[in-house]
Amino acid sequence: MAKNATVWEVFIQSKNGLAHKHAGNVHAADKIMALENARELYTRRNEGSCIWVVKSSEIVSSETEDSEAFFDPSNDKMYRHPTFYTMPEGSKHI
């Protein structure tokens, strides 16, 4: 049996001007095949104007179990949000 094919994560830009969004993954031996497989699998109905593929093994992810501690620094900074501030009554366009 052939060794397991490489898994590639697929990101699709649905139209010019928008961000690429994760769509799923494909198996492929090399990058050209990965792009072509991604096109066949994820854009059969005009879903894309550009595709990125990246080897899954190259993706670094934070750990779910650590997420509380990992994201802690942003929890206590309410002053980063506009709703934190008191605006004088009657003020507009701010």
Partner: protein, 307 residues
């Protein structure tokens, strides 16, 4: 403690993601269910592929090709979802070949006439959609996302099937007979696609508690029957069940007894096409091996050339 947290996630409708802790039984149940679903999509290409070269028009041929390609795509979405549970695609395919993993029994019936393409799209895809719409809300994130994608593509499948049936039902007497015959043969296997009755379905308890399944087999089956009866009437075909009757009190159709002996017989490998379907899959897989090997070699070469 972990289990409690897990159940709380489920109860509050938070999706479980691949890196989250999950009970071993939950993982096992998902691998079994998702791989069975993936294999069904892939094996399901065979009965329809049977008619690509004999489609009655260029339009019909192009549509059927697109549909079969979609089925391959759906299989791949599902294999991907299944792989996030820590099992390789190679192993999944191996389990299919070793008959350790099953696929939907419906694909073990032969497709004898062009009307069968209609019956499969209308009834088999129709039943699959009912199940898949419900599974969009399944608790496992990757499975749910695969279902959402599949449902978006699936409704064309059901419509193309119903269109074929409608065309044939208003065609020549021979064509109408063919359409009715396809409905006669596919009706019971289609409603048995939802699986055993709830009273006979041992895994339903956990599957519902863990929200892998959101509705029981019987609920889904009833919903399919209620939707389909009217569609058959409109095109002038008769559903082959003498006990089928609207029940005003239940606000649902009552229907006849299903032949479970036949169902289990087909599930256990003795349907008309079980051997043929599996043999064909193995053959295609084996014959593709040199292609996979060549692709790997080529990739290696490319890599060493750029380094």
């Amino acid at each position: 403690m972990k289990e409690e947290h897990f159940q709380k996630q489920i109860d509050t409708e938070q999706k479980i993601e691949p890196k989250d802790w999950m009970p071993e039984q939950y993982r096992k149940h998902l691998i079994r269910q998702i791989s069975q679903h993936a294999h069904s999509e892939v094996i399901g290409m065979q009965p329809e592929g049977n008619w690509i070269t004999r489609a009655p028009s260029l339009r019909a041929k192009m549509i059927l090709l697109a549909k079969v390609q979609d089925e391959a795509g759906h299989g791949l979405y599902l294999y991907s979802a299944c792989e996030t549970l820590g099992i390789s695609r190679e192993k999944l395919v191996q389990q299919l070949h070793d008959e350790k993993a099953k696929y939907s029994s419906i694909f073990n019936y032969p497709t004898l006439t062009w009307a069968d393409m209609g019956a499969i799209g209308w009834l088999v895809d129709g039943a699959a959609i009912i199940n898949q719409v419900s599974l969009q809300r399944t608790s496992y994130g990757p499975y749910s996302r695969a279902m959402i994608k599949i449902c978006k593509e699936e409704s064309f499948h059901q419509r193309q099937g119903y269109e074929i049936m409608a065309e044939m039902a208003k065609g020549t007497p021979e064509q109408k007979t063919m359409a009715q015959d396809a409905l006669n043969r596919f009706w019971w296997p289609s409603i048995m696609m939802f699986g055993p009755q709830d009273s006979e379905s041992p895994r339903t308890g956990n599957a519902m508690k863990w929200k892998i399944k959101r509705q029981t087999n019987d609920e889904l089956r009833q919903s399919f029957i209620d939707k389909t009866v009217g569609q058959a009437e409109i095109i002038g075909l008769k559903i082959p069940d003498p006990d089928l009757k609207w029940n005003e009190e239940r606000k649902h159709y009552d229907f006849g007894e299903m032949d479970w002996e036949e169902f289990w017989n087909v599930v256990n490998g003795n349907g008309p096409c079980n051997k043929q379907r599996l043999a064909h899959h193995k053959k295609a897989h084996d014959e593709g091996e040199w292609v996979r090997n060549a692709a790997q070699e080529y990739a290696k070469k490319q890599e060493s050339a750029t380094n």
